[in-house]
């Protein structure tokens, strides 16, 4: 009897230990809140097609060279990269000339033709070889499925003299070094996200100096809600080429960092606008907003105007963004302006030396003013299952 009791108590203890161990294993394998769940094998099993880089830069960019470097960096990080002739043939077959985004049918076709899980979209925002080199690139990994979901997005904007350090010893004068360092960092960010160990869209730091200067948010709007958001290209009122696209891209990236939101891939939105021959002369109208919301299945459409974008050592940017809901009501409008030296008092400490980084920070301020801080950095999105539409 005693023996039986003893056996029973040891069995119960064993079960308790097993339960604790199971919980520990479960905890160990749990991914960070919102990080993408890898479709088995994580980054090393992920096949990605690297599309030729698109340029939003104001000057010439050696896009082929940049694309090659991106392919190498991703391969070095352990991803299975499909690029070169195979991607060229795919683009030719589908008559795709714009590589700054991808629409649903083209993304789904990539799975069948290239056998990939996702497409990596590279957008060069700044590129400067001379003087202190300057490079800014935004990346997006889009699922190779009909809905072309944004699986990961990140970017950087760096100048060689960002951190000069003591006696200028920290100045990077070699463009290749700067490029290689940052591409390795991006590849790591992507692999961490695919492995479920990193955020899907690392946000830019939120700083008080880059919050919108004038802000309106409708009292009826629920910022904590789960929305799907489409960002339209901003109207460019500057002399810099594609400044509106740059702003829209940065805002897309910052919104993707808010885990509860589903941000529509800009390529999908662009495709719908072209399909319905929507021209936004003078900004977004209610008709444009309705067409966009209906065709991409979004709850909110964000558009705006860029009034100033200057690059250089002290970049400056001014824009207004607005959000319209399904009823055509403007639920948010914010005007942001800032420059790289705003709030810099002590030598060049905390100076922003890249227009891309400035745009990133201002866009982050705008995104937070609309949706609040929220659960930034994560997503509920799982990677597409092999061989099937999502």
């Amino acid at each position: 009897m005693t023996c039986w009791t003893g056996s029973s108590s040891s069995s119960r203890a064993g079960r308790a230990v097993a339960l604790v161990l199971t919980s520990l294993v479960a905890c160990a394998s749990a991914r960070p809140a919102g990080a993408p769940a890898a479709s088995g094998g994580g980054a090393r099993a992920f096949r990605v097609a690297v599309l030729p880089a698109d340029s939003l830069s104001s000057g010439p960019v050696p896009l082929r060279a940049v694309t090659t470097q991106v392919e190498r960096a991703m391969e070095a990080a352990g991803l299975k990269v499909v690029g070169g002739d195979a991607v060229e043939a795919y683009l030719e077959n589908h008559r795709l000339r714009f590589t700054g985004g991808v629409d649903g049918p083209a993304a789904a076709a990539a799975r069948g033709e290239l056998g990939v899980d996702g497409l990596l979209i590279t957008t060069v925002e700044e590129h400067e070889l001379e003087g202190p080199p300057r490079l800014a690139i935004t990346f997006r990994l889009v699922s190779a499925s009909e809905d072309a979901r944004i699986l990961w997005t990140d970017g950087f904007g760096r100048a060689g003299d960002d951190a000069p350090g003591l006696l200028g010893l920290g100045v990077v004068r070699d463009y290749r070094r700067l490029e290689a360092r940052e591409l390795v960092r991006m590849a790591r960010s992507l692999t961490l996200a695919l492995d479920g160990r990193g955020p899907r869209a690392p946000p830019c730091p939120a700083e008080g100096r880059f919050e919108p200067s004038v802000l309106y948010r409708s009292p009826d709007f629920q910022p904590a809600g789960r929305y799907s958001v489409a960002v339209l290209p901003f109207v460019n009122e500057t002399s810099r080429r594609r400044a509106g696209d740059l702003l829209a891209l940065e805002l897309t990236r910052q919104l993707a960092g808010i885990g509860r939101l589903r941000v529509i891939e800009p390529g999908v939105t662009r495709d719908r606008l072209i399909h319905y021959r929507v021209i936004m002369e003078g900004g977004v109208s209610l008709d444009t907003a309705r067409v966009t919301l209906e065709t991409v299945g979004a709850d909110l459409v964000i558009a705006g105007y860029v009034r100033e974008l200057s690059e250089g050592a002290d970049p400056s940017l001014e824009y207004t963004a607005l959000a319209l809901d399904r009823s055509g009501k403007m639920v948010w409008q914010a005007t942001s302006h800032g420059n790289g030296s705003a709030g810099v008092w002590f030598f060049d400490w905390s100076m922003i030396g890249s227009a891309s980084q400035l745009a990133c920070r201002l866009a982050r301020g705008s995104a937070v003013s609309l949706f609040g801080e929220g659960d930034t950095g994560g997503t509920e999105v799982a990677l597409p299952a092999k061989g099937g539409k999502q």
Partner: protein, 190 residues
């Protein structure tokens, strides 16, 4: 009773200060019920400043701050542009009464606001420089096209401190916000 010279000096100083304040005129239609104005369209402002984007910047801040007041809903600028295009309004900044009424019924708004930006940018005096923004706005009733509110204001410029100690004054955007605040004060505080 003779006025003492010191009193005259004080009066003169006050008159000077009043001149520096930059507050312009203000008109409210006494027969208009401003409480009935719920939705407005803001037309592109006429630009008389040297900065080609000055008028759009002032309009932008004006729309945003009017929305932020929470009292009036402002139609998106793109929707206003669509209305102007659709109705073929030649001079969007100065529409005729007929065009105003048509636009009002097309956009389904209670009032339409237009404006003129007279100054936007830096002014110099000796070594001192500062930003100045000057604008006047008018509100038209959509149904009749008549002016129901009009106000003008000027903000910024070279202050005594700027003259004495130099410095670039306040950023143009801050001056614009101050100007728009002043204009909205005039609209809401009849």
């Amino acid at each position: 009773m003779r006025a003492r010279p010191s009193h005259l000096l004080v009066v003169a100083a006050l008159a000077l200060l009043a001149g520096c304040a930059g507050s312009g005129g203000n008109y409210h239609d006494p027969n208009m019920d401003f409480g009935s104005v719920k939705t407005v369209a803001v037309l592109p402002f006429t630009n008389l400043s040297r900065d080609s984007a000055g008028a759009e910047r002032v309009r932008d801040v004006f729309v945003n701050m009017l929305l932020a007041s929470g009292s009036i809903y402002v139609l998106p600028n793109g929707e206003v542009a669509r209305g102007l295009n659709r109705l073929g309004v030649q001079n969007a900044a100065n529409p005729s009464v007929e065009e105003l009424t048509k636009l009002g019924s097309f956009l389904k708004c209670d009032a339409i606001i237009g404006g003129v930006v007279k100054e936007y940018g830096e002014v110099h005096s000796g070594n001192a420089a500062a930003n100045v923004v000057s604008a006047s706005v008018q509100m038209f009733e959509s149904a009749s096209g008549r002016v129901i509110w009009s106000a003008s204001s000027t903000k910024g410029g070279i202050s005594l401190t700027d003259r004495m100690f130099g410095g670039g004054g306040v950023p143009a955007n801050d001056v614009t916000e101050s100007l728009v605040n002043d204009l909205l004060d005039r609209l809401f505080k009849q």
